[in-house]
């Protein structure tokens, strides 16, 4: 178990790196699009569709990590109550498992959407990038998020020690 967790920790910077790269490209591309358009009158025509794809990459690359590390925006008003009754671990564990299980349905729906795009042969306007790759990526990210959330929830409930960083 320990080795699985350390493997996940070791791998976790990779998708973040991908998100950073996508974001940096998004920034640079937008900048040069404006410069090229205003000075040389030749905008980057694929900028809009690339923006959309890059955004999806940014958001869904980091989603699993946000989900596993309590990065979602939440309300901690009742924390002192839960801490007083020592219920916070149970609450967090069950919360993680619930949310993780819930991820199954959106992941599946997006997968179905992506398959439909593949059947229809949907591609982006200028670069003809197949839409379903993006769909797959999103579905995959949502599914991984669900799995890591369930895993985190189980660890919180049954083996909280393993989550502590050594």
């Amino acid at each position: 178990m320990q080795s699985v967790i350390s493997a996940i920790r070791w791998l976790s910077p990779l998708p973040v790196l991908l998100a950073c790269l996508a974001l940096f490209i998004l920034m640079t591309m937008t900048f040069f699009d404006v410069i090229l358009r205003s000075i040389f009158n030749s905008p980057i025509e694929a900028a809009t569709e690339l923006t959309r794809i890059l955004m999806a990459i940014v958001v869904f690359s980091v989603l699993p990590q946000i989900s596993a590390q309590a990065g979602h925006i939440a309300v901690d008003l009742m924390d002192s109550f839960f801490f007083r009754w020592r219920l916070h671990n149970i609450r967090d564990g069950l919360g993680y498992i619930l949310c993780g299980v819930l991820m199954y349905w959106p992941a599946m729906r997006i997968w179905i959407l992506a398959e439909r795009w593949r059947d229809y042969g949907d591609v982006t306007e200028y670069l003809a990038i197949p839409q379903f790759y993006i769909g797959w990526f999103i579905a995959f990210s949502v599914a991984i998020s669900g799995i890591v959330m369930i895993g985190t929830g189980l660890l919180i409930l049954f083996a909280p020690r393993l989550l502590e960083r050594s």
């Binding site: 937008t30 900048f31 959309r52 940014v58 979602h72 609450r91 729906r109």
Partner: protein
């Protein structure tokens, strides 16, 4: 209508159980949608419709071109900050205000206002300024109440003074000009700074020990401190001016869409930070990483809120509301007052972005049917949202402060925030009673032919 209200209550319960907002709203929204479609929460056809709505919402939101302004503006704020801008802004305001009683808290408020001009998020403003201002106020023996409250409140200005992520989203939702919204936010933002300064004065007048005076800076020192913030001003004018079409003349013909303005701002901030030597490869990575995380968690909330708002709309809440108001036969102003009351109550529990996403689709048609200006309503909504950021029990800015500072209880911060909260109510009253404050600048710009 009843179903929608039950939905609201369920979201509240889940949120209080610390289920992340996206899941609380998403879960209730999905089942509510299924109920409205199929007549029961577990009706197969209803569930199928609900789930395909959820799937589309998830994949569409992340790929929404208009929303790309959000990460880019966050990026701009963070890069500027890496260039040490927060510290410099703070030094400037401190040089001018620090020697007053409570002056270092006043400087904090002013610096928050300045930082807001480059950063579109209240949470980021509060988080950044707390790292810079908190140690300084501690050093001078400021009370925890005053020091944390001045940052939490000052930070709320982030979403009013342009650029503003919230105004962008309001603009996208209601098809209102984002340029006009940004320009309209300037005067109310300055008013906000002024009113907060009064709140600081009031606090130290009540308890002089809470905010002793700092050292007086000489005029040469003051001017020297000013020299370092010109880059922020330049970037601000580039972004806001470009968005508004101020550079739309031969041979430039430069008008920015919001995404382009944000991209130029981010790149400009990146270059400034690079030029000042404040950026290593590592810190660039840190900035990009933080932006991705913030943007992704914002998008998640957005997705949850949209799922929930689809349900609320399907349940017919906006129409029910218009009918209700028509039946009451009250003056438009009373309706506005009631809407504000609803916002203040909702603001107690909802995160700012979700509150905006939940309420604007419901209230906007109503307010427009009463003949109010969409830009004005946008600013009013943002000011109310600002108030919600420091309203107990769920003032997000307060929690940010708690997160960064650590050893101060939320109760202490909320206590300190009270005078600022009251100052906000005064500002809101002014903006509602004198719409001129909001509309004079965008109308002037409009007269210039843009």
């Amino acid at each position: 209508m009843t179903v929608a209200l039950i939905g609201f209550a369920l979201v509240l319960i889940l949120v209080l159980l610390r289920i992340p907002i996206v899941f609380s709203m998403g879960l209730v929204g999905t089942f509510g949608y299924a109920y409205e479609r199929g007549g029961s929460m577990l009706d197969e056809r209803g569930l199928k419709a609900a789930l395909s709505m959820v799937g589309r919402q998830v994949s569409d939101t992340a790929q929404d071109y208009g929303l790309s302004v959000v990460p880019l503006f966050i990026l701009m704020g963070l890069f500027v900050n890496k260039g040490g801008m927060a510290r410099e802004l703070y030094a400037v305001s401190n040089a001018f205000l620090g020697h007053f009683r409570g002056g270092i808290a006043m400087a904090t408020v002013a610096a928050c206002g300045g930082f807001s001009a480059i950063c579109g998020s209240s949470l980021a403003t509060a988080a950044t300024m707390s790292k810079v201002a908190m140690p300084e106020m501690r050093r001078y023996g400021y009370s925890d109440e005053l020091s944390t409250a001045s940052i939490a409140a000052g930070g709320t200005l982030g979403i009013l003074i342009p650029p503003s992520v919230i105004l962008v989203i309001y603009g996208l939702l209601t098809e209102t000009s984002i340029g006009k919204l940004f320009v309209a936010g300037i005067l109310p933002g300055m008013l906000g700074i002024m009113f907060y300064l009064f709140a600081v004065r009031w606090t130290v007048w009540r308890n002089p020990a809470s905010g002793p005076a700092g050292e007086r800076a000489g005029w040469p020192e003051r001017f020297r401190s000013l020299g370092s913030v010109w880059a922020v001003l330049l970037l601000f004018f580039l972004v806001i001016g470009g968005l508004y079409g101020a550079f739309d003349f031969e041979p430039l013909n430069l008008t920015f869409s919001p995404t382009e303005a944000a991209g130029m701002g981010a790149m400009g901030a990146f270059l400034i930070a690079l030029g000042r030597g404040g950026l290593s490869l590592r810190s660039t990575f840190e900035v990009l990483r933080e932006t991705s995380f913030t943007a992704a968690s914002l998008f998640a909330v957005l997705i949850g809120a949209q799922i929930f708002s689809n349900f609320v709309n399907l349940a017919g809440l906006p129409e029910a509301l218009i009918n209700l108001v028509t039946a009451w036969d009250v003056t438009p102003f009373v309706v506005i007052l009631m809407i504000l009351a609803v916002y203040i109550v909702l603001g107690c529990v909802f995160e700012s972005l979700s509150m905006l996403l939940l309420t604007v689709p419901i209230f906007f048609p109503l307010v427009m049917s009463l003949g109010y200006d969409p830009v004005w309503f946008g600013i009013v909504v943002v000011v109310v949202t600002e108030i919600s950021l420091i309203t107990p029990p769920v003032g997000l800015n307060v929690f940010i402060l708690k997160g960064v500072v650590g050893d101060v209880s939320t109760a202490t911060i909320f206590k300190g925030v009270t005078p600022f909260w009251i100052a906000d109510l005064f500002r809101l009253a002014l903006i509602v009673l004198v719409p001129w404050v909001v509309l004079v600048l965008p109308e002037q710009m409009g007269a210039m032919g843009h």
